[in-house]
C-alpha cells in the first residue's frame, strides 16, 4: 500500500512537542487558546474513559471510544463557527464537546435511553448517525441550503458545514455520492475523514490502496492529509478549508491521519486482528502528550494549570457517573409519541391499547408481568 510521501502530512506540532511550520497552513495560537485546547483534549479523554468504565459496569449497553482521536476531533470542532453545522458519525464525542453537547446526552444514547439526545438545531450538531455514510449526504444537502439562503439574502459569504466519516465509510456509495453532489453544487462543506486505520477489523488497505485524501482530486476538489494527532495542524487545516468553503470555493476533503487506540467498541476484541506493536508505535504519537509537553516546555502553563484541568476532569467524571446511574428510563408511552409529527390513527390506537394493557398488570390481579 502506498501510504503517501512524508511531505504529504501537514504537521505543526511534532509528537515530541516541537512547533514546526508549514508553508500553506499556519496558525497563531495564544497561550490562553492553547490552554483551552489542552483542557478540551483532557476533558474529552476523561469523558471517554469514564464512559468505557460505565459500560464495563453495565451502565451502558455499548461505547465507541475515541481514544487516540481527541486531537482530530477537538481541533476540527474548534475550527467551527457557532453558525456552522457539524454532521457526526457515532464516535464524535470530542466534536460534541466543542459543540457544547452535554456528555450525559451521549451516554443516554449508548445507555439505550434515547436514539438521539440533543436538539440538533440548537447545537448545530446533527444527531449521531450509525448507518455508515448516510450523514455525508445530509451534510451536503444542508450546505446546499446554506448556499440557497445566501443567494436569497444576496450575501457574499456563508456559513459552512463539516461532515465527519471514517476510513471504512469512504467505501460507501453515499459518501462518494456526497462528493459528487458537493462538487456539482459547489456546496460549502468540508469532508473530514478520520482515518484511524481500521474499520472494525478491516485495515485501511481493504478500502483503498492510495492515501484517502487523494480521492478528492478524482472528484475535482482539493484534498489534504493532516497529522490527526496534532491538534494545531488539524485546527489550522480545518479553519483554512472552512474559510475556503465560506468564500464559495466549494468542498474539500481533509484526511486526519490517526489511530483508533481502543477497540472498535466495547463489544470488539481487537486482539483477533491486530498487533500490539502497532499500538505501541502510535502511543508515541499521543495527541495530548505533545500539547502538554509544548505548554510545559514553553512555559505556557504551569503545574497549577494542569492540576486545575485534572480537578475539573474529576468533577466532570463524578457528574457523569452519577448522572448516568440516575438516568431514568424513558416511559413506554414515549415509544408512540415520536414516530409522527401529526396524528396517525394506528399509532394512537396502539398507544391507547398498550397503556390499557400495562394498566392490567398494575391492577391487583392474578397472573402478572
Amino acid at each position: 500500500m502506498d501510504s503517501g510521501t512524508p511531505g504529504e502530512l501537514v504537521q505543526l506540532l511534532t509528537p515530541e512537542g516541537e512547533r514546526v511550520h508549514h508553508p500553506d497552513y499556519d496558525i497563531d495560537v495564544s497561550a490562553e487558546e492553547l490552554q483551552s485546547i489542552y483542557r478540551d483534549l483532557a476533558l474529552v479523554r476523561r469523558i471517554d474513559l469514564e464512559a468505557t468504565a460505565l459500560q464495563r459496569q453495565g451502565e451502558l449497553g455499548l461505547w465507541a471510544s475515541l481514544l487516540g482521536q481527541e486531537a482530530a476531533q477537538v481541533g476540527s470542532g474548534r475550527a467551527l463557527h457557532p453558525d456552522d453545522y457539524a454532521f457526526p458519525t457515532y464516535r464524535e464525542h470530542g466534536v460534541a464537546f466543542t459543540r457544547d453537547v452535554d456528555p450525559l446526552q451521549l451516554l443516554a444514547l449508548f445507555r439505550g435511553v434515547s436514539n438521539g439526545g440533543w436538539d440538533p438545531n440548537e447545537k448545530n450538531f446533527a444527531l449521531y448517525t450509525i448507518v455508515i455514510g448516510n450523514q455525508c449526504l445530509h451534510a451536503v444537502g444542508y450546505a446546499m441550503g446554506m448556499t440557497f439562503d445566501r443567494r436569497r439574502a444576496h450575501a457574499d459569504s456563508t456559513d459552512a458545514v463539516i461532515a465527519y466519516f471514517g476510513d471504512g465509510a469512504s467505501s460507501q456509495g453515499d459518501v462518494n455520492e456526497a462528493f459528487i453532489f458537493a462538487a456539482s453544487f459547489d456546496a460549502p462543506v468540508v469532508f473530514f475523514c478520520q482515518n484511524n486505520q481500521w474499520a472494525i477489523s478491516e485495515p485501511l488497505e481493504k478500502q483503498t490502496k492510495i492515501p484517502l485524501y487523494r480521492r478528492a482530486a478524482g472528484f475535482g476538489f482539493p484534498g489534504v492529509r493532516v497529522d490527526g494527532n496534532d491538534v494545531l495542524a488539524v485546527l489550522a487545516v480545518t479553519r483554512k478549508h472552512l474559510a475556503d468553503a465560506r468564500a464559495g470555493l466549494g468542498p474539500s476533503l481533509i484526511e486526519a491521519f490517526t489511530y483508533r487506540m481502543g477497540a472498535h467498541t466495547t463489544s470488539d476484541d481487537p486482539t483477533r486482528y491486530r498487533l500490539a506493536s502497532d499500538l505501541e508505535n502510535w502511543k508515541l504519537k499521543d495527541p495530548i502528550e505533545r500539547v502538554r509537553a509544548y505548554l510545559w516546555r514553553q512555559g505556557l502553563a504551569d503545574q497549577a494549570y494542569f492540576d486545575g484541568v485534572e480537578a475539573e476532569a474529576e468533577t466532570l467524571a463524578v457528574r457523569l457517573r452519577e448522572g448516568c446511574r440516575s438516568m431514568p428510563d424513558p416511559s413506554p408511552d414515549s415509544m408512540f409519541t415520536g414516530t409522527y409529527a401529526e396524528p396517525y390513527p394506528l399509532v394512537d390506537a396502539e398507544r391507547a391499547e398498550f397503556a390499557h394493557y400495562l394498566e392490567s398488570f398494575a391492577a391487583p390481579a392474578e397472573g402478572g408481568h
Binding site: 441550503g145 415520536g338 399509532v347
Partner: protein, 333 residues
C-alpha cells in the same frame, strides 16, 4: 407549454397537469418548497410534471441533480434540516430502491430519533404502476415497502382533482410522505375547480355507493374498479367502490363502515398480493368486522412474479374481468 398563472375557474385538466398546477401553487404559497430530481428542470421531468417550473422559480428551487437517488433523498434530508420542504421526484418506481436506505433509515426515523426536534417535511413523488408498455423497472408497485415502514406516510391520488389537492397537502404535511402517482392515469382528464375545498388528505372516499359488496382500491386501479362496478350494476349487483387515497395511514374506519353494510370486501391492486396492501386490509377488516363478513376478504392483484415484459402486462394487471371474477367469488359465499 404551461402558462405561468394558476387558472381560476373549473377547467378540464389531466392528472399530469393537475400535479403540475398543484406543485406550482405549493411553491407560490411557501418559498421554502424546493424540487429535486433528475431531468426536472428544462425537460420538466420525463412525464412533464414539473414543466416550466424551473423557468419560473429558478434553478435554486427546481434542482436538476446528479444521477443518484440516494444522493437526492440524502441531500433532501439535509435541506429539510435547514428549513426547506424538499419535494423529490424519483423518475420511475423501479429507481427508488437506491434511495431505500436513506428513506427507511433516515427519512422515516429522524422524527422519532430526535424525539420531535427534527421534522422531515419531505415529499417523495414516484410515478408508479404498470400499463404503459414500458421496459423493465418502469412498472413497479412498491407501496407495501413504504407502508410497512413506520415513520412514513403513503398516499396516491387516482384522479386530477385529488392530484391537485393531495400534492399540496402532502407538501404541507410535517411528516415525510411517499406520493405515488399512477402513471398510466397521467393523461386522464377531469374538471378541476381550484377554488373548491379539498377533502382531508388522510381519508378514503366512497367513489361509488353500493350495498352488495365493498371494493377497495387505489391509484391506477380506481378507474378499473369503477368500470367493473358499472359492469356489475348492469347485472344487478351494487358494488360500493372505495378509493383508499391513503395507504399509510390506512383509513380502516371508512372501509369497515362500508363492510358493516355490505358484508363483503374485495381489495384490488397491481402489486403482488403476497404482503400487498390487500393483506393488511384483509387482516384488519376481518378482525374488526368478523361477525359482519359473509365471505372472506378476497384479493385481486399482481402475481408473485416480477412484472413481466410489457407484451404480457395486460395479463399481469388486474383488469375489469379479473376484478369481477373476484367479486363473483365473494358473492358466492
Amino acid at each position: 407549454m404551461a402558462d405561468a398563472t394558476t387558472p381560476k375557474g373549473p377547467e378540464k385538466v389531466t392528472l399530469a397537469r393537475a400535479l403540475n398546477m398543484g406543485l406550482r401553487r405549493a411553491m407560490e404559497d411557501d418559498d421554502h418548497v424546493v424540487l429535486l430530481g433528475e431531468d426536472i428542470g428544462k425537460l420538466g421531468g420525463v412525464f412533464r410534471i414539473t414543466d416550466a417550473l424551473q423557468k419560473d422559480f429558478g434553478e435554486d428551487r427546481v434542482i436538476d441533480t446528479p444521477l443518484a437517488e440516494s444522493g437526492i433523498v440524502g441531500t433532501a434530508v439535509g435541506l429539510a434540516m435547514r428549513g426547506y420542504r424538499p419535494v423529490v421526484e424519483i423518475q420511475f418506481d423501479g429507481f427508488v430502491y437506491p434511495a431505500f436506505d436513506q428513506i427507511v433509515s433516515q427519512v422515516a426515523k429522524m422524527h422519532a430519533r430526535s424525539r420531535g426536534d427534527l421534522a422531515m417535511p419531505m415529499v417523495i413523488r414516484i410515478p408508479f404502476g404498470g400499463g404503459i408498455g414500458a421496459v423493465e423497472h418502469h412498472s413497479e408497485s412498491p407501496e407495501a415497502y413504504f407502508a410497512h415502514t413506520a415513520g412514513l406516510r403513503v398516499v396516491t391520488p387516482s384522479n386530477p382533482v385529488d392530484g391537485y389537492w393531495m400534492i399540496q397537502q402532502a407538501i404541507r404535511c410535517a411528516d415525510p410522505v411517499v406520493f405515488l402517482e399512477p402513471k398510466r392515469r397521467y393523461w386522464e382528464k377531469a374538471e378541476l375547480d381550484v377554488t373548491a375545498a379539498p377533502a382531508p388528505l388522510f381519508e378514503a372516499r366512497v367513489v361509488r355507493p353500493g350495498r352488495d359488496l365493498t371494493l377497495a382500491c387505489y391509484g391506477p386501479m380506481v378507474r378499473t374498479c369503477l368500470d367493473a362496478a358499472a359492469a356489475a350494476a348492469a347485472e344487478g349487483r351494487e358494488i360500493e367502490v372505495i378509493d383508499l387515497r391513503t395507504l399509510s395511514p390506512l383509513d380502516f374506519d371508512a372501509v369497515c363502515a362500508s363492510v358493516e353494510r355490505t358484508g363483503r370486501l374485495v381489495v384490488a391492486h397491481e402489486a403482488t398480493t403476497f404482503l400487498g396492501m390487500g393483506a393488511e386490509l384483509a387482516a384488519r377488516v376481518t378482525e374488526r368486522c368478523f361477525y359482519s363478513l359473509q365471505a372472506p376478504v378476497l384479493r385481486v392483484g399482481g402475481f408473485h412474479t416480477p412484472y413481466p415484459p410489457s407484451r404480457l402486462e395486460e395479463h399481469y394487471l388486474p383488469d375489469l374481468d379479473r376484478v369481477l371474477d373476484a367479486v363473483d367469488r365473494a358473492l358466492e359465499y
